[in-house]
Amino acid sequence: MRNVPALLRRELSAYFASVLGYVVLMFFLIVMGVTFAVVVNFLSSRGPTQMTAMVILFRMFWLPALVVIPAITMRLLAEEKRAGTLEMLMTAPVTDFEVVLAKWLGAVVLYALMWGLTVFYVLILKHFSGGTAVLDLGPIAAGYIGVLVIGQFLIALGLLSSSLTKNQVAAALMSFALIFLCVIVLNWLSFLFQGGVMGSICRAVSAFEHIEDFGRGIVDLRPLVLYGIGTAVALFITTRAVESRKWR
Protein backbone atom coordinates (compact mmCIF):
# COMPACT_ATOMS: atom_id res chain seq x y z
CA MET A 1 0.00 0.00 0.00
CA ARG A 2 3.11 2.16 0.04
CA ASN A 3 2.44 3.55 -3.42
CA VAL A 4 -1.23 4.43 -3.00
CA PRO A 5 -0.69 8.08 -1.96
CA ALA A 6 1.50 8.80 -4.98
CA LEU A 7 -0.90 7.05 -7.35
CA LEU A 8 -3.89 8.79 -5.78
CA ARG A 9 -2.28 12.18 -6.24
CA ARG A 10 -1.67 11.41 -9.88
CA GLU A 11 -5.32 10.33 -10.30
CA LEU A 12 -6.65 13.51 -8.74
CA SER A 13 -4.35 15.74 -10.72
CA ALA A 14 -5.44 13.93 -13.89
CA TYR A 15 -9.06 14.97 -13.28
CA PHE A 16 -8.13 18.60 -13.00
CA ALA A 17 -5.32 18.65 -15.57
CA SER A 18 -7.97 17.92 -18.20
CA VAL A 19 -11.35 19.63 -18.47
CA LEU A 20 -13.08 16.51 -17.19
CA GLY A 21 -12.99 17.43 -13.51
CA TYR A 22 -14.37 20.91 -14.11
CA VAL A 23 -17.05 19.76 -16.54
CA VAL A 24 -18.20 17.12 -14.08
CA LEU A 25 -18.47 19.66 -11.26
CA MET A 26 -20.26 22.10 -13.56
CA PHE A 27 -22.74 19.49 -14.73
CA PHE A 28 -23.43 18.41 -11.17
CA LEU A 29 -23.88 21.96 -9.90
CA ILE A 30 -26.28 22.87 -12.70
CA VAL A 31 -28.42 19.78 -12.21
CA MET A 32 -28.45 19.92 -8.43
CA GLY A 33 -28.74 23.70 -8.30
CA VAL A 34 -31.85 23.72 -10.48
CA THR A 35 -33.29 20.79 -8.54
CA PHE A 36 -32.64 22.58 -5.27
CA ALA A 37 -34.29 25.79 -6.48
CA VAL A 38 -37.35 23.93 -7.73
CA VAL A 39 -37.61 21.91 -4.51
CA VAL A 40 -37.32 24.96 -2.26
CA ASN A 41 -39.84 26.85 -4.36
CA PHE A 42 -42.23 23.91 -4.25
CA LEU A 43 -41.89 23.39 -0.51
CA SER A 44 -42.29 27.06 0.39
CA SER A 45 -45.38 27.44 -1.78
CA ARG A 46 -47.19 24.74 0.17
CA GLY A 47 -47.90 24.23 3.80
CA PRO A 48 -45.83 22.08 6.15
CA THR A 49 -44.85 18.69 4.69
CA GLN A 50 -43.02 15.64 5.94
CA MET A 51 -40.18 16.23 3.50
CA THR A 52 -37.26 18.57 3.88
CA ALA A 53 -35.40 20.07 0.97
CA MET A 54 -32.23 18.11 1.69
CA VAL A 55 -34.03 14.75 1.88
CA ILE A 56 -35.52 15.37 -1.54
CA LEU A 57 -32.10 16.37 -2.82
CA PHE A 58 -30.48 13.21 -1.44
CA ARG A 59 -33.18 11.12 -3.07
CA MET A 60 -32.15 12.68 -6.36
CA PHE A 61 -28.68 11.07 -6.01
CA TRP A 62 -29.41 8.66 -8.88
CA LEU A 63 -29.55 11.41 -11.48
CA PRO A 64 -25.93 12.63 -11.18
CA ALA A 65 -24.82 9.07 -10.36
CA LEU A 66 -26.11 7.71 -13.66
CA VAL A 67 -24.28 10.36 -15.68
CA VAL A 68 -21.32 11.45 -13.59
CA ILE A 69 -20.05 8.08 -12.39
CA PRO A 70 -19.70 6.56 -15.87
CA ALA A 71 -18.06 9.82 -16.97
CA ILE A 72 -15.41 9.83 -14.24
CA THR A 73 -14.70 6.10 -14.27
CA MET A 74 -14.76 5.24 -17.96
CA ARG A 75 -11.23 6.40 -18.69
CA LEU A 76 -9.58 5.05 -15.54
CA LEU A 77 -8.30 1.74 -16.90
CA ALA A 78 -9.59 1.73 -20.48
CA GLU A 79 -7.47 4.72 -21.42
CA GLU A 80 -4.36 3.36 -19.73
CA LYS A 81 -4.75 0.17 -21.70
CA ARG A 82 -5.37 1.92 -25.00
CA ALA A 83 -2.50 4.39 -24.62
CA GLY A 84 -0.14 1.71 -23.33
CA THR A 85 0.61 3.65 -20.15
CA LEU A 86 -0.53 0.61 -18.17
CA GLU A 87 2.73 -1.01 -19.24
CA MET A 88 4.69 1.88 -17.73
CA LEU A 89 2.68 1.65 -14.56
CA MET A 90 2.82 -2.12 -14.16
CA THR A 91 6.53 -2.39 -14.82
CA ALA A 92 7.25 0.02 -11.97
CA PRO A 93 7.46 -1.68 -8.58
CA VAL A 94 3.75 -1.31 -7.79
CA THR A 95 1.17 -4.05 -7.42
CA ASP A 96 -1.94 -4.31 -9.55
CA PHE A 97 -4.16 -3.88 -6.52
CA GLU A 98 -2.42 -0.66 -5.48
CA VAL A 99 -3.24 0.79 -8.91
CA VAL A 100 -6.86 -0.34 -8.77
CA LEU A 101 -7.30 0.96 -5.24
CA ALA A 102 -5.80 4.37 -6.06
CA LYS A 103 -8.00 4.77 -9.12
CA TRP A 104 -11.11 3.92 -7.13
CA LEU A 105 -10.10 6.27 -4.32
CA GLY A 106 -9.44 9.07 -6.78
CA ALA A 107 -12.92 8.81 -8.24
CA VAL A 108 -14.45 8.58 -4.75
CA VAL A 109 -12.64 11.75 -3.68
CA LEU A 110 -13.92 13.60 -6.76
CA TYR A 111 -17.44 12.34 -6.07
CA ALA A 112 -17.20 13.42 -2.43
CA LEU A 113 -15.90 16.81 -3.47
CA MET A 114 -18.82 17.16 -5.86
CA TRP A 115 -21.38 16.44 -3.17
CA GLY A 116 -19.35 18.48 -0.71
CA LEU A 117 -20.24 21.56 -2.74
CA THR A 118 -23.92 21.09 -1.84
CA VAL A 119 -23.04 22.04 1.74
CA PHE A 120 -23.65 25.56 0.47
CA TYR A 121 -27.31 24.65 -0.01
CA VAL A 122 -27.50 23.81 3.67
CA LEU A 123 -25.97 27.18 4.49
CA ILE A 124 -28.49 28.89 2.20
CA LEU A 125 -31.36 27.07 3.89
CA LYS A 126 -30.01 28.00 7.30
CA HIS A 127 -29.64 31.63 6.35
CA PHE A 128 -33.03 32.08 4.75
CA SER A 129 -35.08 29.96 7.12
CA GLY A 130 -34.67 32.98 9.34
CA GLY A 131 -35.14 31.12 12.59
CA THR A 132 -38.73 30.16 11.76
CA ALA A 133 -37.61 26.54 11.27
CA VAL A 134 -34.80 24.75 12.98
CA LEU A 135 -32.48 23.00 10.58
CA ASP A 136 -31.72 19.51 11.87
CA LEU A 137 -28.09 18.83 11.01
CA GLY A 138 -28.03 15.18 12.17
CA PRO A 139 -30.18 13.71 9.37
CA ILE A 140 -28.37 15.91 6.86
CA ALA A 141 -25.01 14.47 7.91
CA ALA A 142 -26.48 10.97 7.74
CA GLY A 143 -27.78 11.74 4.25
CA TYR A 144 -24.30 12.70 3.12
CA ILE A 145 -22.97 9.44 4.53
CA GLY A 146 -25.62 7.56 2.57
CA VAL A 147 -24.85 9.33 -0.68
CA LEU A 148 -21.15 8.61 -0.24
CA VAL A 149 -21.59 4.97 0.73
CA ILE A 150 -23.82 4.21 -2.24
CA GLY A 151 -21.66 6.33 -4.56
CA GLN A 152 -18.42 4.57 -3.72
CA PHE A 153 -20.01 1.23 -4.61
CA LEU A 154 -21.31 2.54 -7.93
CA ILE A 155 -17.82 3.94 -8.64
CA ALA A 156 -16.36 0.48 -8.04
CA LEU A 157 -18.82 -0.84 -10.64
CA GLY A 158 -17.70 1.88 -13.06
CA LEU A 159 -14.05 1.02 -12.49
CA LEU A 160 -14.85 -2.64 -13.09
CA SER A 161 -16.45 -1.74 -16.43
CA SER A 162 -13.40 0.28 -17.37
CA SER A 163 -11.12 -2.66 -16.66
CA LEU A 164 -12.95 -4.89 -19.12
CA THR A 165 -12.35 -2.91 -22.29
CA LYS A 166 -9.97 -0.57 -24.07
CA ASN A 167 -12.89 1.45 -25.39
CA GLN A 168 -13.96 4.30 -23.14
CA VAL A 169 -17.43 4.64 -24.63
CA ALA A 170 -18.05 0.94 -24.17
CA ALA A 171 -16.88 1.25 -20.57
CA ALA A 172 -19.21 4.21 -19.97
CA LEU A 173 -22.22 2.38 -21.40
CA MET A 174 -21.40 -0.71 -19.40
CA SER A 175 -21.19 1.18 -16.12
CA PHE A 176 -24.35 3.11 -17.00
CA ALA A 177 -26.14 -0.22 -17.49
CA LEU A 178 -24.76 -1.65 -14.22
CA ILE A 179 -25.76 1.44 -12.23
CA PHE A 180 -29.15 1.46 -13.89
CA LEU A 181 -29.67 -2.19 -12.89
CA CYS A 182 -28.47 -1.69 -9.32
CA VAL A 183 -30.41 1.48 -8.60
CA ILE A 184 -33.40 1.96 -10.89
CA VAL A 185 -34.32 -1.60 -11.84
CA LEU A 186 -34.02 -2.88 -8.26
CA ASN A 187 -36.41 -0.14 -7.19
CA TRP A 188 -38.93 -1.10 -9.87
CA LEU A 189 -38.67 -4.73 -8.85
CA SER A 190 -39.44 -3.89 -5.25
CA PHE A 191 -42.66 -2.25 -6.44
CA LEU A 192 -43.41 -5.13 -8.78
CA PHE A 193 -43.10 -7.82 -6.13
CA GLN A 194 -44.77 -5.80 -3.41
CA GLY A 195 -45.71 -7.94 -0.43
CA GLY A 196 -43.89 -11.15 -1.32
CA VAL A 197 -40.52 -12.47 -0.21
CA MET A 198 -38.98 -11.22 -3.46
CA GLY A 199 -40.34 -7.80 -2.72
CA SER A 200 -38.77 -7.61 0.70
CA ILE A 201 -35.44 -8.87 -0.65
CA CYS A 202 -35.51 -6.23 -3.37
CA ARG A 203 -36.45 -3.58 -0.84
CA ALA A 204 -33.63 -4.66 1.46
CA VAL A 205 -31.04 -4.08 -1.27
CA SER A 206 -32.70 -1.11 -2.96
CA ALA A 207 -30.60 2.03 -2.88
CA PHE A 208 -33.74 4.21 -2.75
CA GLU A 209 -34.82 2.56 0.48
CA HIS A 210 -31.36 3.03 1.93
CA ILE A 211 -31.10 6.69 1.01
CA GLU A 212 -34.52 7.29 2.49
CA ASP A 213 -33.33 5.85 5.81
CA PHE A 214 -30.08 7.77 5.73
CA GLY A 215 -31.98 10.97 4.92
CA ARG A 216 -34.12 10.47 8.00
CA GLY A 217 -30.96 10.17 10.06
CA ILE A 218 -30.84 6.39 10.36
CA VAL A 219 -27.31 5.11 9.85
CA ASP A 220 -28.00 1.41 9.62
CA LEU A 221 -25.08 -1.01 9.70
CA ARG A 222 -26.69 -3.38 7.17
CA PRO A 223 -26.46 -1.15 4.08
CA LEU A 224 -22.95 -0.14 5.14
CA VAL A 225 -21.90 -3.80 5.17
CA LEU A 226 -23.79 -4.49 1.95
CA TYR A 227 -22.07 -1.73 0.01
CA GLY A 228 -18.71 -2.49 1.65
CA ILE A 229 -18.88 -6.08 0.47
CA GLY A 230 -20.12 -4.99 -2.95
CA THR A 231 -17.16 -2.65 -3.36
CA ALA A 232 -14.69 -5.28 -2.16
CA VAL A 233 -16.01 -7.80 -4.69
CA ALA A 234 -15.99 -5.26 -7.53
CA LEU A 235 -12.42 -4.16 -6.75
CA PHE A 236 -11.33 -7.78 -6.50
CA ILE A 237 -12.75 -8.60 -9.94
CA THR A 238 -11.20 -5.42 -11.33
CA THR A 239 -7.77 -6.45 -10.04
CA ARG A 240 -8.25 -9.84 -11.65
CA ALA A 241 -9.20 -8.18 -14.92
CA VAL A 242 -6.05 -6.05 -14.82
CA GLU A 243 -4.03 -9.19 -14.12
CA SER A 244 -5.75 -11.03 -16.94
CA ARG A 245 -3.03 -9.84 -19.33
CA LYS A 246 -0.93 -12.44 -17.54
CA TRP A 247 -3.02 -15.47 -18.26
CA ARG A 248 -4.64 -14.56 -21.55
Binding site: L7, A17, E87, M88
Partner: protein, 329 residues
Protein backbone atom coordinates in the same frame (compact mmCIF):
# COMPACT_ATOMS: atom_id res chain seq x y z
CA UNK B 1 29.58 -13.37 -11.27
CA UNK B 2 26.04 -14.16 -12.27
CA UNK B 3 24.86 -12.73 -15.56
CA UNK B 4 22.53 -9.72 -15.58
CA UNK B 5 19.94 -11.52 -17.65
CA UNK B 6 19.64 -15.24 -17.98
CA UNK B 7 16.96 -16.64 -20.27
CA UNK B 8 16.53 -20.38 -20.52
CA UNK B 9 14.25 -22.04 -23.00
CA UNK B 10 11.75 -19.22 -23.00
CA UNK B 11 8.49 -19.92 -24.76
CA UNK B 12 5.46 -17.69 -25.06
CA UNK B 13 2.24 -18.74 -26.69
CA UNK B 14 -0.67 -16.42 -27.22
CA UNK B 15 -4.00 -17.95 -28.19
CA UNK B 16 -2.95 -20.07 -31.14
CA UNK B 17 0.26 -18.17 -31.90
CA UNK B 18 3.74 -19.07 -30.73
CA UNK B 19 5.52 -15.76 -30.23
CA UNK B 20 8.68 -17.17 -28.66
CA UNK B 21 9.96 -20.62 -29.30
CA UNK B 22 12.64 -21.87 -26.91
CA UNK B 23 14.71 -18.71 -26.58
CA UNK B 24 17.94 -18.94 -24.55
CA UNK B 25 20.53 -16.25 -24.05
CA UNK B 26 22.55 -14.42 -21.44
CA UNK B 27 23.54 -10.83 -21.01
CA UNK B 28 26.58 -10.11 -18.85
CA UNK B 29 26.93 -7.10 -16.58
CA UNK B 30 28.12 -4.01 -18.43
CA UNK B 31 27.22 -5.26 -21.89
CA UNK B 32 25.20 -3.34 -24.46
CA UNK B 33 23.24 -5.94 -26.34
CA UNK B 34 21.14 -5.24 -29.41
CA UNK B 35 18.06 -7.26 -30.08
CA UNK B 36 17.57 -7.36 -33.79
CA UNK B 37 14.70 -8.75 -35.77
CA UNK B 38 11.96 -7.88 -38.21
CA UNK B 39 8.62 -6.66 -36.90
CA UNK B 40 6.78 -9.41 -35.08
CA UNK B 41 9.91 -11.43 -34.39
CA UNK B 42 9.26 -11.49 -30.66
CA UNK B 43 11.48 -8.64 -29.46
CA UNK B 44 8.81 -6.75 -27.53
CA UNK B 45 7.35 -9.94 -26.12
CA UNK B 46 10.75 -10.92 -24.74
CA UNK B 47 11.18 -7.49 -23.19
CA UNK B 48 7.73 -7.55 -21.64
CA UNK B 49 8.54 -10.88 -20.04
CA UNK B 50 11.89 -9.58 -18.79
CA UNK B 51 10.17 -6.64 -17.11
CA UNK B 52 7.44 -8.80 -15.60
CA UNK B 53 4.59 -7.20 -17.53
CA UNK B 54 3.50 -10.56 -18.90
CA UNK B 55 4.59 -14.04 -17.83
CA UNK B 56 6.18 -16.70 -20.01
CA UNK B 57 4.34 -19.84 -21.05
CA UNK B 58 7.37 -21.89 -20.09
CA UNK B 59 11.06 -21.44 -19.45
CA UNK B 60 13.02 -19.61 -16.80
CA UNK B 61 14.07 -15.98 -16.79
CA UNK B 62 16.20 -14.33 -14.14
CA UNK B 63 17.25 -10.70 -13.95
CA UNK B 64 20.07 -9.87 -11.54
CA UNK B 65 19.56 -13.30 -10.02
CA UNK B 66 15.83 -12.83 -9.33
CA UNK B 67 13.17 -14.87 -11.04
CA UNK B 68 10.97 -12.49 -13.05
CA UNK B 69 7.80 -14.34 -12.17
CA UNK B 70 8.41 -15.25 -8.53
CA UNK B 71 10.12 -12.01 -7.51
CA UNK B 72 8.54 -9.63 -9.96
CA UNK B 73 8.64 -6.54 -7.72
CA UNK B 74 12.30 -7.10 -6.92
CA UNK B 75 13.14 -7.46 -10.62
CA UNK B 76 11.24 -4.25 -11.41
CA UNK B 77 13.39 -2.39 -8.90
CA UNK B 78 16.48 -3.44 -10.87
CA UNK B 79 15.15 -2.55 -14.29
CA UNK B 80 14.59 0.73 -16.08
CA UNK B 81 12.21 0.05 -18.93
CA UNK B 82 11.12 2.09 -21.88
CA UNK B 83 8.28 0.27 -23.64
CA UNK B 84 7.58 0.31 -27.33
CA UNK B 85 6.11 3.64 -28.50
CA UNK B 86 7.12 5.16 -25.18
CA UNK B 87 3.74 5.66 -23.53
CA UNK B 88 3.62 8.65 -21.14
CA UNK B 89 0.97 10.56 -19.24
CA UNK B 90 0.57 13.35 -21.75
CA UNK B 91 -1.34 15.60 -19.37
CA UNK B 92 1.54 15.95 -16.91
CA UNK B 93 4.47 18.33 -16.89
CA UNK B 94 7.91 16.82 -17.45
CA UNK B 95 9.25 17.28 -13.93
CA UNK B 96 5.88 16.40 -12.40
CA UNK B 97 5.87 13.12 -14.30
CA UNK B 98 9.43 12.27 -13.34
CA UNK B 99 8.78 13.08 -9.67
CA UNK B 100 5.72 10.82 -9.76
CA UNK B 101 7.72 8.01 -11.33
CA UNK B 102 10.54 8.51 -8.84
CA UNK B 103 8.05 8.15 -6.01
CA UNK B 104 6.67 4.93 -7.49
CA UNK B 105 10.18 3.61 -7.84
CA UNK B 106 10.69 4.14 -4.13
CA UNK B 107 13.20 6.99 -4.10
CA UNK B 108 13.33 8.92 -0.84
CA UNK B 109 12.11 12.50 -0.80
CA UNK B 110 15.61 13.96 -0.88
CA UNK B 111 16.83 11.59 -3.60
CA UNK B 112 13.75 12.31 -5.64
CA UNK B 113 14.61 15.94 -6.00
CA UNK B 114 18.24 15.35 -6.77
CA UNK B 115 17.75 12.45 -9.17
CA UNK B 116 15.00 14.24 -11.10
CA UNK B 117 17.30 17.19 -11.68
CA UNK B 118 20.14 14.84 -12.61
CA UNK B 119 18.24 12.87 -15.23
CA UNK B 120 16.71 16.07 -16.58
CA UNK B 121 20.20 17.38 -17.19
CA UNK B 122 21.48 14.05 -18.50
CA UNK B 123 18.76 13.80 -21.10
CA UNK B 124 18.85 17.47 -22.07
CA UNK B 125 15.41 18.20 -20.70
CA UNK B 126 16.20 21.02 -18.30
CA UNK B 127 14.81 23.65 -20.69
CA UNK B 128 11.47 21.89 -21.08
CA UNK B 129 11.01 20.74 -17.50
CA UNK B 130 7.84 22.78 -16.96
CA UNK B 131 6.28 21.93 -20.34
CA UNK B 132 3.33 19.58 -20.63
CA UNK B 133 4.47 16.26 -22.08
CA UNK B 134 1.67 16.15 -24.64
CA UNK B 135 2.97 19.36 -26.20
CA UNK B 136 6.55 18.15 -26.60
CA UNK B 137 8.03 16.94 -29.86
CA UNK B 138 8.57 13.26 -30.32
CA UNK B 139 12.30 13.56 -29.71
CA UNK B 140 11.75 15.23 -26.36
CA UNK B 141 9.14 12.69 -25.38
CA UNK B 142 11.56 9.92 -26.18
CA UNK B 143 14.04 11.58 -23.86
CA UNK B 144 11.42 11.81 -21.12
CA UNK B 145 10.98 8.05 -21.49
CA UNK B 146 14.71 7.55 -21.22
CA UNK B 147 14.94 9.87 -18.23
CA UNK B 148 12.20 7.87 -16.56
CA UNK B 149 14.04 4.60 -17.22
CA UNK B 150 17.17 6.11 -15.66
CA UNK B 151 15.52 7.55 -12.54
CA UNK B 152 16.18 4.80 -10.04
CA UNK B 153 19.73 4.20 -11.32
CA UNK B 154 18.77 0.71 -12.44
CA UNK B 155 21.35 -2.00 -13.05
CA UNK B 156 19.65 -2.89 -16.28
CA UNK B 157 18.11 -0.69 -18.94
CA UNK B 158 15.64 -2.29 -21.32
CA UNK B 159 14.81 -0.03 -24.23
CA UNK B 160 12.27 -1.13 -26.82
CA UNK B 161 13.03 0.66 -30.08
CA UNK B 162 14.41 3.80 -28.46
CA UNK B 163 14.98 5.71 -31.71
CA UNK B 164 11.81 4.89 -33.59
CA UNK B 165 10.09 7.89 -35.13
CA UNK B 166 12.91 10.33 -34.47
CA UNK B 167 14.56 12.57 -37.04
CA UNK B 168 18.21 11.92 -37.95
CA UNK B 169 19.60 14.52 -35.57
CA UNK B 170 17.55 13.21 -32.68
CA UNK B 171 18.48 9.62 -33.52
CA UNK B 172 22.13 10.56 -33.32
CA UNK B 173 21.61 12.27 -29.96
CA UNK B 174 19.74 9.33 -28.49
CA UNK B 175 22.37 6.88 -29.75
CA UNK B 176 25.12 8.95 -28.19
CA UNK B 177 23.17 9.04 -24.94
CA UNK B 178 22.80 5.27 -25.00
CA UNK B 179 26.50 4.84 -25.66
CA UNK B 180 27.33 7.07 -22.72
CA UNK B 181 24.91 5.21 -20.49
CA UNK B 182 26.49 1.93 -21.50
CA UNK B 183 29.53 2.92 -19.48
CA UNK B 184 27.62 2.45 -16.22
CA UNK B 185 24.61 0.31 -17.08
CA UNK B 186 23.84 -2.97 -18.71
CA UNK B 187 21.63 -2.23 -21.69
CA UNK B 188 19.35 -4.40 -23.76
CA UNK B 189 17.82 -2.52 -26.66
CA UNK B 190 15.71 -3.69 -29.54
CA UNK B 191 15.61 -2.27 -32.99
CA UNK B 192 15.09 -3.18 -36.57
CA UNK B 193 17.45 -0.46 -37.73
CA UNK B 194 20.82 -2.06 -38.40
CA UNK B 195 23.29 0.81 -38.29
CA UNK B 196 21.99 1.47 -34.81
CA UNK B 197 23.20 -1.88 -33.57
CA UNK B 198 26.50 -1.58 -35.40
CA UNK B 199 27.09 1.77 -33.80
CA UNK B 200 25.97 1.22 -30.24
CA UNK B 201 26.10 -2.46 -29.32
CA UNK B 202 28.79 -4.81 -28.06
CA UNK B 203 26.79 -7.81 -29.12
CA UNK B 204 23.90 -8.54 -31.43
CA UNK B 205 21.21 -11.13 -30.98
CA UNK B 206 19.29 -11.75 -34.18
CA UNK B 207 15.85 -13.09 -33.54
CA UNK B 208 13.28 -14.24 -36.07
CA UNK B 209 10.00 -16.11 -35.63
CA UNK B 210 10.67 -16.33 -31.89
CA UNK B 211 14.03 -18.05 -32.28
CA UNK B 212 17.61 -16.87 -32.01
CA UNK B 213 19.38 -17.11 -35.35
CA UNK B 214 22.72 -15.59 -34.45
CA UNK B 215 24.42 -14.02 -31.45
CA UNK B 216 27.83 -12.40 -31.79
CA UNK B 217 29.65 -9.07 -31.93
CA UNK B 218 28.75 -6.97 -34.95
CA UNK B 219 32.36 -7.29 -36.19
CA UNK B 220 32.41 -11.08 -35.95
CA UNK B 221 29.09 -11.40 -37.68
CA UNK B 222 30.37 -9.20 -40.44
CA UNK B 223 33.64 -11.14 -40.65
CA UNK B 224 32.02 -14.55 -40.86
CA UNK B 225 29.91 -13.49 -43.75
CA UNK B 226 32.49 -11.32 -45.40
CA UNK B 227 34.53 -14.41 -46.24
CA UNK B 228 32.08 -14.81 -49.08
CA UNK B 229 32.07 -11.08 -49.94
CA UNK B 230 32.78 -10.25 -53.56
CA UNK B 231 35.75 -8.34 -54.97
CA UNK B 232 35.16 -5.69 -57.62
CA UNK B 233 37.86 -5.04 -60.16
CA UNK B 234 37.97 -2.67 -63.13
CA UNK B 235 40.82 -3.08 -65.60
CA UNK B 236 41.63 -2.02 -69.20
CA UNK B 237 42.49 -5.19 -71.12
CA UNK B 238 41.16 -7.83 -73.52
CA UNK B 239 38.04 -9.36 -72.00
CA UNK B 240 38.78 -13.05 -72.65
CA UNK B 241 42.35 -12.68 -71.47
CA UNK B 242 41.30 -10.87 -68.28
CA UNK B 243 38.77 -13.51 -67.45
CA UNK B 244 41.09 -16.45 -68.04
CA UNK B 245 44.08 -15.00 -66.20
CA UNK B 246 42.11 -13.78 -63.18
CA UNK B 247 40.43 -17.14 -62.87
CA UNK B 248 43.86 -18.71 -62.58
CA UNK B 249 44.79 -16.50 -59.62
CA UNK B 250 45.11 -18.41 -56.37
CA UNK B 251 42.15 -18.04 -54.00
CA UNK B 252 39.67 -17.08 -56.71
CA UNK B 253 36.58 -19.22 -56.94
CA UNK B 254 34.72 -17.66 -59.84
CA UNK B 255 34.94 -14.68 -62.17
CA UNK B 256 32.29 -12.78 -64.07
CA UNK B 257 33.21 -10.08 -66.56
CA UNK B 258 31.18 -7.30 -68.08
CA UNK B 259 32.88 -5.24 -70.78
CA UNK B 260 32.32 -1.52 -70.34
CA UNK B 261 31.87 1.06 -73.09
CA UNK B 262 35.09 2.95 -72.27
CA UNK B 263 37.40 -0.03 -72.82
CA UNK B 264 37.45 -1.00 -69.18
CA UNK B 265 36.23 -4.42 -68.09
CA UNK B 266 34.37 -4.72 -64.79
CA UNK B 267 35.06 -7.98 -63.08
CA UNK B 268 33.14 -9.51 -60.23
CA UNK B 269 35.27 -12.03 -58.37
CA UNK B 270 34.10 -14.44 -55.67
CA UNK B 271 37.03 -15.53 -53.56
CA UNK B 272 37.31 -18.94 -51.95
CA UNK B 273 36.39 -19.17 -48.30
CA UNK B 274 38.81 -17.33 -46.00
CA UNK B 275 40.95 -16.24 -48.94
CA UNK B 276 41.84 -12.65 -49.77
CA UNK B 277 43.27 -12.68 -53.32
CA UNK B 278 43.44 -8.93 -53.74
CA UNK B 279 47.22 -8.76 -53.79
CA UNK B 280 47.74 -11.55 -56.38
CA UNK B 281 45.03 -9.91 -58.49
CA UNK B 282 46.93 -6.66 -58.42
CA UNK B 283 50.18 -8.42 -59.36
CA UNK B 284 48.48 -10.24 -62.24
CA UNK B 285 47.19 -6.94 -63.60
CA UNK B 286 50.63 -5.32 -63.36
CA UNK B 287 52.36 -8.33 -64.94
CA UNK B 288 50.02 -8.13 -67.94
CA UNK B 289 50.26 -4.39 -68.23
CA UNK B 290 46.54 -3.76 -67.67
CA UNK B 291 45.52 -0.44 -66.21
CA UNK B 292 43.80 -1.03 -62.87
CA UNK B 293 41.11 1.51 -62.00
CA UNK B 294 39.32 -0.19 -59.13
CA UNK B 295 40.01 -2.99 -56.70
CA UNK B 296 37.60 -3.16 -53.78
CA UNK B 297 36.16 -5.72 -51.48
CA UNK B 298 32.44 -5.10 -51.01
CA UNK B 299 31.92 -4.84 -47.31
CA UNK B 300 29.10 -7.01 -46.07
CA UNK B 301 26.98 -4.92 -43.79
CA UNK B 302 24.96 -6.19 -40.93
CA UNK B 303 22.02 -5.48 -43.17
CA UNK B 304 23.18 -8.09 -45.68
CA UNK B 305 23.72 -10.59 -42.91
CA UNK B 306 20.35 -9.89 -41.48
CA UNK B 307 18.56 -10.22 -44.80
CA UNK B 308 20.57 -13.34 -45.62
CA UNK B 309 19.96 -15.08 -42.32
CA UNK B 310 16.28 -14.31 -42.14
CA UNK B 311 15.82 -15.27 -45.78
CA UNK B 312 17.61 -18.62 -45.30
CA UNK B 313 15.37 -19.22 -42.34
CA UNK B 314 12.23 -18.38 -44.31
CA UNK B 315 13.31 -20.60 -47.20
CA UNK B 316 13.98 -23.48 -44.83
CA UNK B 317 10.54 -22.95 -43.34
CA UNK B 318 8.97 -22.87 -46.76
CA UNK B 319 10.78 -26.08 -47.70
CA UNK B 320 9.58 -27.85 -44.56
CA UNK B 321 6.05 -26.73 -45.22
CA UNK B 322 6.30 -27.87 -48.86
CA UNK B 323 7.55 -31.26 -47.79
CA UNK B 324 4.74 -31.65 -45.31
CA UNK B 325 2.24 -30.68 -47.98
CA UNK B 326 3.59 -33.21 -50.45
CA UNK B 327 3.55 -35.88 -47.79
CA UNK B 328 -0.10 -35.23 -47.11
CA UNK B 329 -0.85 -35.59 -50.77
Amino acid sequence: MQPMIKVENLTKRYAGVTALNGLSFEVQRGEIVGFLGPNGAGKSTTMRILTGFIPASSGRVTVAGCDVFEESLEVRRHVGYMPENNPLYTDMRVYEYLKFRAKLKGLSRADRHERTDEVLAMCGLTDVRTRIIGQLSKGYRQRVGLADALLAEPDLLILDEPTIGLDPVQIRQVRQLIKDLGKQHTILLSTHILPEVEMTCDRVIIIHHGRILASDTPENLTKTLQAGGAIRVEVRGPVADVEAKLRAVEGVASVRTTPGADGFVSVEISPKTDADPREPIYRTCVANGWTLRELTRTRTTLEDIFVQITREEDEADEERRERRRSMLR
